[in-house]
């Protein structure tokens, strides 16, 4: 562990009790201030044979220190998006920049700042777990042995066992340890819920909280099942029809989005009067339902003619990703 890192931790222990932690503070305390956004994608287009528009002119930017949950149904293209963002897949159109550099031609310095936990761990099956970590260690300028040792024993992964003989869950936990070990500035996890049971998730979330507080790490994870994991995401983004349908702090979504139902004329009047943005509408049947965001925070009142409901994240997920 470097001197800088220890100092950062100490400062944060103090800050913890005295002032709110902002990502900017975390960042300025972490070694190397970062100006360019960790992820900046513009005009991404990915077509598969027989399936055009898996990503359809997708624009997206992640700010430093954000923890973002990427929500989308099975088959919505979450893995394709994550792979494209990391430069592992070349889009038919558009460009991704990671910390200002083109994602498709990363240099060693950029690689060292990225951590990726794929859905299917593609670790070398014939290596022992310990050898595998030693192998990856050689590629990175920084490697947190204390963190690796702690997680290996807490997550009960035998170092001398061949990777191929570890259970699926153990393999994925090993993959998470590998991605955390070099202390990346951007950590991307594809469906981490799949590999972790409730206790494992809790432990993993503690690690994430530490990473965010100590290093200001930007974290992006995808999921198609809502679980306790989303709580750690200050921001959520919804992938639907090849685009990011919405990316906002969860608090703002809860406070600004309402599901209105009633006669169309009445809904339109409520939207106009309160500066609403209609995110989706279903005008079929007798009771049209509109999903509306009121960014000014001025909310219409429901009454006998019009219902106005707040939505849980799960309800919102269902409304936005169908």
């Amino acid at each position: 562990m470097t001197h800088t890192h220890t100092l950062t931790q100490t400062l944060h222990e103090t800050l913890d009790h005295t002032m709110p932690i902002s990502p900017a503070q975390s960042r300025s305390l972490a070694d190397g201030a970062l100006d360019a956004p960790p992820v900046s994608a513009s005009g991404l287009r990915v077509d598969f044979k027989g399936q055009p528009g898996v990503l359809a002119n997708l624009d997206w930017t992640l700010a430093p220190g954000q923890v973002v949950g990427l929500l989308g149904r099975n088959g919505a293209g979450k893995t394709t998006l994550l792979e494209t963002l990391l430069g592992l897949r070349e889009p038919q159109a558009g460009e991704v920049r990671l910390f200002g550099q083109p994602a498709l031609i990363p240099d060693d310095a950029l690689r060292a700042r990225l951590g990726y936990v794929p859905q299917q761990s593609a670790l070398f099956e014939d290596f022992s777990a310990g050898d595998l970590l030693r192998y990856f260690r050689s590629f990175y300028p920084r490697w947190n042995d204390a963190k690796v040792d702690g997680l290996m024993s807490r997550w009960e992964i035998p170092r001398d066992r061949r990777v191929g003989q570890l259970s699926q869950g153990q393999q994925q936990r090993l993959s998470i340890i590998r991605a955390l070990a070099h202390e990346p500035d951007l950590l991307v996890l594809d469906e981490p819920v799949a590999s972790l049971d409730a206790a494992g998730r809790r432990d993993f979330l503690r690690e994430l909280v530490d990473q965010v507080l100590d290093r200001g790490t930007t974290v992006l994870f995808s999921t198609h099942i809502l679980s306790d994991l989303e709580r750690v995401a200050f921001n959520v983004a919804f992938l639907s029809r090849g685009r990011i349908a919405l990316h906002a702090p969860q608090d703002a979504l809860a406070e600004e989005i309402r599901l209105l139902s009633g006669p169309v004329g009445r809904l339109q009047a409520a939207v106009d009067a309160h500066g609403g943005q209609v995110l989706g509408r279903r005008d079929l049947g007798e009771q049209p339902r509109w999903l509306v965001r009121f960014p000014d925070g001025r909310l219409p009142q429901g009454d006998a003619a019009m219902r106005c409901e707040a939505l849980s994240l799960e309800d919102l997920f269902l409304e936005l990703t169908q």
Binding site: H17, P20, P23, V209, L213, E230, V232
Partner: protein, 133 residues
């Protein structure tokens, strides 16, 4: 008090997590379970115990401080603010329930339920928390 005993989160609620934290603290203070000078867990402790984003906890703490529920002390844990010496009077505590009950009352009227049945349900819920529904 341990962080996970002091606060709990209902993830299925449309109420934002930071607001849930503020309201829970408000109720603990109103009932006298927490009094002036008692320490509040740190951002890190609470974020880890509840598995939520530290920024969410920070936001809740900011609001708690702005509302005079807690006080920050440089380099030390936050504490319940000095004016909260003892439990609020019953009359004041009941007022804290008003928003939730107003909402329930509006929904009861929309459902055109007779008041005595609504009251009976509420009474049953109060008395028998373990066997709801």
């Amino acid at each position: 008090m341990d962080a996970d005993l002091l606060f709990s989160i209902n993830p299925g609620s449309p109420e934002p997590i930071y607001r849930q934290l503020v309201e829970q603290l408000r109720r603990r203070i109103a009932s006298g379970q927490l009094v002036a000078g008692e320490e509040i867990p740190s951002v890190r402790e609470l974020a880890q115990a509840l598995a939520v984003n530290p920024m969410t906890v920070s936001k809740a703490f900011g609001l708690m401080e702005a509302e005079g529920l807690v006080e920050r002390r440089r380099g030390l844990p936050m504490v319940v603010a000095a004016q909260h010496q003892k439990a609020m009077k019953t009359r004041g505590r009941v007022e804290l329930l008003r928003p939730a009950l107003e909402k329930a009352a509006a929904e009861a009227r929309q459902l055109e339920l007779p008041p005595d049945q609504v009251l009976a349900l509420f009474k049953a819920l109060l008395e028998d928390q373990g066997e709801m529904r």
